[in-house]
Symmetry: C2
Subunit: 181 residues, 2 copies
């Protein structure tokens, strides 16, 4: 950030009064431009004993598999964001969303919040950001072709019922050593 988005004056990095971290600050109009982590909302959408996977048609990790997930938008809930991403990426509607896991990825300022839910019907088709979509049983999971460490960890927990008993919400962190995002 170089300029104030309200008045176009150059910003300076300084610690505002009564604050303790440097912020981009406009000395013309007085605006303080805070920067905060973003929520990525995702969905493990199931049909019987299969889960919905999407093969990415966009970078990063083009061609690798993920569950539907993306940045939460203003004016929606996290569950609405998860359902919206599922529809955008796989043309699939999900019901009965329950919170499954929350993963911090502090080195890239993201918080993944993933729900589990039921597909309303098994018919799906790729959205603009997916090359293909598929309903996959546990024994057929493409573990070596999962797009992101946070998604692989989330799916491991989903299938490992001993780690996540019914109703349990898993909270964890993903660090740079996992390969980041």
């Amino acid at each position: 950030m170089k300029y104030c988005c309200y008045c176009a004056n150059p910003v300076v990095l300084k610690i505002p009064a009564k604050d303790n971290l440097p912020r981009y600050t406009c000395e013309n109009c007085g605006a303080v431009h805070y920067q905060n982590p973003k929520i990525v909302a995702g969905c493990i959408a199931t049909w019987e004993d299969k889960i919905l996977l999407c093969r990415r048609a966009i970078e990063p990790r083009y061609g690798l598999w993920t569950v539907p997930a993306g940045f939460m938008e203003n004016n929606e809930t996290v569950a609405q964001a998860a359902a919206r991403e599922t529809f955008e990426e796989a043309t699939a509607k999900v019901d009965n969303l329950t919170l499954h896991s929350l993963f911090n990825i502090p080195h890239i300022n993201q918080v993944y919040i993933v729900f589990a839910g039921n597909l309303a019907q098994p018919e799906t088709r790729p959205g603009l950001e997916s090359l293909e979509v598929n309903l996959v049983e546990e024994q057929d999971m493409p573990w070596d072709e999962i797009a992101f460490p946070v998604i692989r960890r989330t799916l491991e927990l989903f299938f490992d019922r001993s780690e996540t008993p019914p109703g349990h919400v898993y909270v964890g962190d993903i660090g740079p050593k996992w390969g980041g995002e």
Copy 2:
């Protein structure tokens, strides 16, 4: 937002290619300025059967009571943010944080994520943003002087063990009819 924070050119509100929502976009440098919800991290800090409340020394809701909570910063986890706010507002250290609740407040683009944890010791003192801090038993709760609807609802759930059995994470929404924030 009126100007691009990277090049100071005026921005326009338009739907970028392959997108479906209007975004502030710079037609000079091509930057798309996304706006996303912010996470407010909070902590119900307990000592025996008491919880830590802080009386706000800042607007909004100056003089009313809350649990320590504030905007999550970059480069931290949600639990670290909750613990940091507890220290900043009440000079108190907390251990054993577990996820208690997640509340969407879509009309103000906030997601409250609140942990429960144990105070390391019962001595606390007000930080810069608190007029006073207090350890309060359930029967002494100042229910009519709680600063925010989301905090009141979170504390109701915390004390109503029938709604939140051990390990349960409550997910809910707060709408404008609750009085917003």
